[in-house]
């Protein structure tokens, strides 16, 4: 019997190696896999490359992981936040590498990785410093730049519902980068608010089919407004 649901954080996190590329779901406080980031802190992997929309806030979650010097490089669109002190301190001290990526290009690079598309052309960033050093091509009279896929070794995902095959649904704007992190990562790890019996999630309502998911942990933490 296939059962992707694991019973402990240690089981969920097992096998994450130093130097991994970690894709993080979440936008603002919503859809962030906070429990999984804490699990990764506990698990101990270091020298990580983390891709996420933001670079963490305060001293918890991603900011805490960075504060512990476990992140070598961050790939994000918007490193500022309400309280970006950890990132800014590390960045100014030259202790963390930053790759700024336009938000849509970040999302598309993840989708491309999940879809087996190694690179794609986009108009976003043409004529700006994002285009420096990138291949340019004119297609149909407009200039585009080549952007490469962004594959994760590990994807950390927050879902609303999950079943033992790994089918996922999301809640409202909590969807954001989560389905992309799941499809783009070699090892997709999910925290889900609700565990459903197989067949209980209407197939028409599944957003991320289980083929993109490896392990699921039940984390019924309630609403995200406290984060």
């Amino acid at each position: 019997m296939i059962n992707k649901i694991v019973q402990s954080m240690a089981d969920l996190m097992s096998g994450i190696k130093d130097g991994s590329v970690v894709l993080l779901g979440g936008f603002g406080s919503v859809g962030q896999p906070n429990a999984l980031i804490d699990g990764l802190i506990e698990q101990g992997a270091k020298d990580l490359v983390v891709a996420a929309n933001n670079a963490g806030a305060g001293h918890v979650g991603l900011a805490r992981l960075m504060e512990l010097n476990r992140v070598r490089k961050i790939i994000c669109s918007f490193p500022r936040s309400s309280d970006p002190v950890v990132f800014e301190t590390l960045y100014r001290a030259g202790k963390i590498e930053l790759e700024i990526v336009p938000q849509g290009t970040l999302a598309e690079r993840m989708r491309a990785a999940g879809a087996g598309v190694p690179a794609f052309f986009t108009a976003t960033g043409v004529g700006t410093k994002m285009a420096v050093g990138k291949e340019h091509r004119e297609i149909g009279g407009r200039t585009y730049i080549l952007e490469e896929w962004l594959k994760g070794d590990v994807g950390l995902v927050e879902a609303w519902e999950a079943d033992r095959w790994g089918n996922l649904t999301f809640k409202q704007s909590g969807r954001n980068f989560n389905p992309l992190c799941a499809m783009a990562s070699e090892l997709s790890l999910v925290q889900a608010q609700h565990i459903r019996e197989l067949g209980e999630i209407d197939p028409d309502h599944v957003v991320t089919p289980g083929i993109f998911v490896d392990r699921v942990l039940h984390v019924p933490y309630g609403d995200p407004s406290g984060f």
Partner: protein, 221 residues
């Protein structure tokens, strides 16, 4: 220029700027509003006119801010503020949301800016080539991808220098993208001829406006 020479003119307030832009949005347009003054536009869409608002984080059909006791903790906009959904609204993931932007499906995006040049170049994400931690967000996607880009901003900086320029000195968000600018002093189209003044704050003369604008201003042909 002396203060007395222009004492009689009255700049538009921020709500008035938003109201002027909102009045020009036709029914049926899909619109993304940038963080800051542009967000005010949604409050001024004339009653009965259906305009569909999009937010980068996968929200289409966004309504106004909720009453305090009706907050949905999972429902935020790209500015991380709580919002509501209108009947007919939908959610999608980030790649689909940016497909709406990058695929040319949005009729309009309205952004704030540091500078706009008279060839339509926009600079709105960094104020130096060596910004300590530049944050671009979705600005480059929106500027390059929406069918048309309008800018809503103050006409001058706090120290009085023009934000409408012949060449942006700050790093570009996108070249040649801006079609129209709403400022506290005027509404200006960006055309092949450069900046064309469509309207001005009450009491302001074209000479007064030109004195506050680096780039050459034209009147409609």
């Amino acid at each position: 220029m002396s203060e007395t020479a222009v004492a009689s003119f009255k700049p538009f307030t921020r709500p008035q700027m938003a109201q002027r832009a909102a009045a020009d949005i036709p029914e049926g347009w899909y619109v993304n509003l940038g963080i800051g003054i542009p967000t005010l536009i949604s409050d001024y869409v004339p009653a009965g006119r259906e305009v569909i608002f999009h937010s980068e984080n996968g929200v289409l059909g966004m309504g106004p801010a909720p009453e305090k006791d009706k907050i949905e903790p999972w429902l935020i906009n790209a500015g991380k503020q709580y919002v509501t959904m209108l009947p007919g609204g939908s959610f999608c993931h980030h790649a689909d949301s940016f497909s709406m932007i990058r695929g040319g499906h949005l009729d309009l995006c309205v952004l704030g800016a540091f500078q706009v040049a008279d060839n339509g170049d926009i600079a709105n994400w960094a104020t130096s080539e060596n910004d300590t931690a530049p944050a671009v967000g979705g600005a480059m996607d929106l500027a390059a991808g929406a069918k048309r880009l309008w800018v809503l901003m103050e006409h001058t900086t706090k120290d009085g220098s023009s934000k409408l320029v012949t060449k942006c000195s700050y790093p570009l968000t996108a070249p040649g993208a801006v079609k129209r600018i709403y400022t506290n002093l005027a509404t200006i189209d960006v055309t092949d001829r450069g900046f064309v003044v469509l309207g001005m704050a009450p009491g302001l003369s074209l000479e007064d406006l030109q004195a506050r604008t680096d780039a050459k201003l034209h009147l409609p042909a």
